[in-house]
Symmetry: C2
Subunit: 341 residues, 2 copies
Amino acid sequence: MNYRLAFLGFGNVGRALAELLLAKRDELKSIHDITFTVTGIATARHGQAVDASGIDLPLALELGRNGRPLNALSAGPVPDNFLEFIRCSGADLLFENTPVNYETGQPAVDHLRTALELGMHAVTANKGAVVHAYHELSELARVMGRHFFFESTVMDGAPIFSLFRSALPVVRCKSFEGVLNSTTNLILTRMETGESFEDAIAYARQTGFAETDPAGDIDGHDAAIKVAALMTVLMNTPTKPGEVAYSGIRDISMEMVADAKANGERYKLICSAEFDGQKIRGRVAPRRVSSASRFYGIEGTSSMIHFETDVLGEFSLVENDPGPQTTAYGLLADFINAVRN
Amino acid sequence: MNYRLAFLGFGNVGRALAELLLAKRDELKSIHDITFTVTGIATARHGQAVDASGIDLPLALELGRNGRPLNALSAGPVPDNFLEFIRCSGADLLFENTPVNYETGQPAVDHLRTALELGMHAVTANKGAVVHAYHELSELARVMGRHFFFESTVMDGAPIFSLFRSALPVVRCKSFEGVLNSTTNLILTRMETGESFEDAIAYARQTGFAETDPAGDIDGHDAAIKVAALMTVLMNTPTKPGEVAYSGIRDISMEMVADAKANGERYKLICSAEFDGQKIRGRVAPRRVSSASRFYGIEGTSSMIHFETDVLGEFSLVENDPGPQTTAYGLLADFINAVRN
C-alpha cells in the first residue's frame, strides 16, 4: 500500500525524518508492505513544494540542509498558506512539525484539525497541540476513521504513549515521576563540573539542545507542558500547562550544585503527577537527590520516566542521549502504527 | 466478542491471571469489547475441569487456593491427558503455564502446537517453548491466522517483546545488557547486608522467589535461557541456552560482596548479547559494578534491560518488585493483543 505524505516543517526533525524514511524504505516495504510518496513539503522561511506525482526527497533534503528554497520542486503554484498547503498536498498523512505554542497550541491545532477533516492521519511532535486539543483531535480522528498520534512530544521517540496504547492494554497509570527536560538536565550536569550556569547554557545552545531563548526550558515551561500532556493522555485528566505547579532551575546556584556534589548528591528537575486524595496534581520542581534515587544516574541529555500502575506495579523507561534522529523515529513509528491499525 | 479460554497450569501465576481477568472484566468489555468464558482448567496434581458452558471461575480459584481437586467443576468426564484436555476445552485461546524444561521445551511445545493446530491462540509464560520452538510455533500461528505470544517469559509482565513488536516498528536491536534473574539479584542484595549465601537462598525460597532447588537460578541456567529467548526473537538469531556462555553466582563469596561494598561497588549477574565482529554472542556472568553503572541501583527482585538499537539509540526498561500478578498481567496483555489484532 502506498501512502502520500506531507511535511509541514522541514527543520532538523523534519529532515531527520526524511532521511529515516529513505534509510528504512526497504524494511517498510518488506516488513509492513508500506511504500510512500512525499507529495508536499512546507517551511516557514524556505518555501513550499507540492507535487502529486512525488517530490524528489533527496533533492529536497539537499536544498533544506543548505537553506535554499524548495519552491523549485513544486509542480504547480505554491499554496498561499499552510492550511491551503495541507489541502493541496492530497496526502494520506500529515507530519506536523511547527514550533510549539505553550499558550494556545496554535497554529498546530488548526493544521492537525484540517488534516483530519480531510481524511488524513495526523502525526505531530508538537506538545502544544496535545495539551490544548487532545480530546477534540482524538475524537475527530475517531469519527474520520483516522489516527492522531504524537509519540515524539515526550522523551523524543521513546515509546510512552504507544506503550500504554498498544503494549499495555487495560493498565492504568496511577502516578509518574521523571526527568523529562534534556536542556536543564544537561545544564545541571555541566554545572557539576564547575561550569557556570551561563556557560552551561551557552554549551547547551551550541550543541543544539537549547533554543536561542532557553527560558522555556530553564523556567520549567517545557517540562510543565510535558506533565500536562502525560496527565491528559495517560491519566485521563485534561490539564493545561498553567494548571501544573512548576518552577525551573534558575535559582540553583553553582554553590548549591557544589554542596550537593560534596555530599554525593545531585540536583534534578523532577516532573511528576499523582493523586493527592482529592485530585491528580502535576508538578515540576528541582530536587536534590542522593545516589539511592533512580534519577541520580540520569546525566546530560538523557531522560527517564517512572510509572506506578494498577496491575503492572512500577516500571521505568530510560532514554540515553537523544537527538533529532530519535524524535524523527517517533514520527516514523506513528506513521507505521497509524496505517497498520 | 466472547472468547473461550483454557488454562493449562493453575498455580500461582495461573490463579493470579484468573483473578486479574475477573478484576478487569468490566474494562475488557468497555474498552476492548472483549468478554470471556473459561471452558477448561487443567492441573498436574489437582485434577481438571472442562465445561463448554463455562466454569465457575471464583469457585475454581477457591478450590485451587486450598489445593482441592477441580474435577467436581467438570461437566463431563475428565480428559486422559493434557493434549486431550486442550482438544476437549474447545477454547479460542490457551494459557500454557506448565513448568520450564530447559533441555527440550517439552511438553509445553506440544501443548502450544496442539492449540495452534486446533485454531487457538497460544499464550505462554514458558521460556523453554520460546527457545526450542519459536520459529516453528510462530510460523504455525501465521499459517493458522492466530498468534503465539510469550510476553511473560522475560521480566515478568514488563513489555519487552510487545514493545518491539508493536510500539517500535522497524527498530533493530543491536545488543542488550540486563539484570534479568530476580532470585540471584535478591540473593546478592541480601548478602550486602552481611547475610550468608545460604541464608539469602533460604530467604528467597521463603518469599517464593526461589524454587525448592534453586540451582536453575544460581548457576545461571534461567538467565541463559532468557538471553537465548531475547536473541532468538529480538535479534533474529535462533539460540539454544547451551550456546550462551554462562556462569552463575555460586563463586561470589560474602568476602567478595563485602569488599565490593567497602569500595562503593556491587556484584550483579549481567545478561548480555552483542555482535563480536563475527557473530552475535550471548553471555551471563557476574560483574562487579560501580555506582556509575546503570545496574548499580537495581536492587532485590527488580530487573532491568538496556537496548542498543539502530534508529532509536539506547534505552532501558526497569521493572520494580515483580510478583505473580505482573507475570499474570503479561499473559492478559498477550490475550488482548492476540484477539484485537
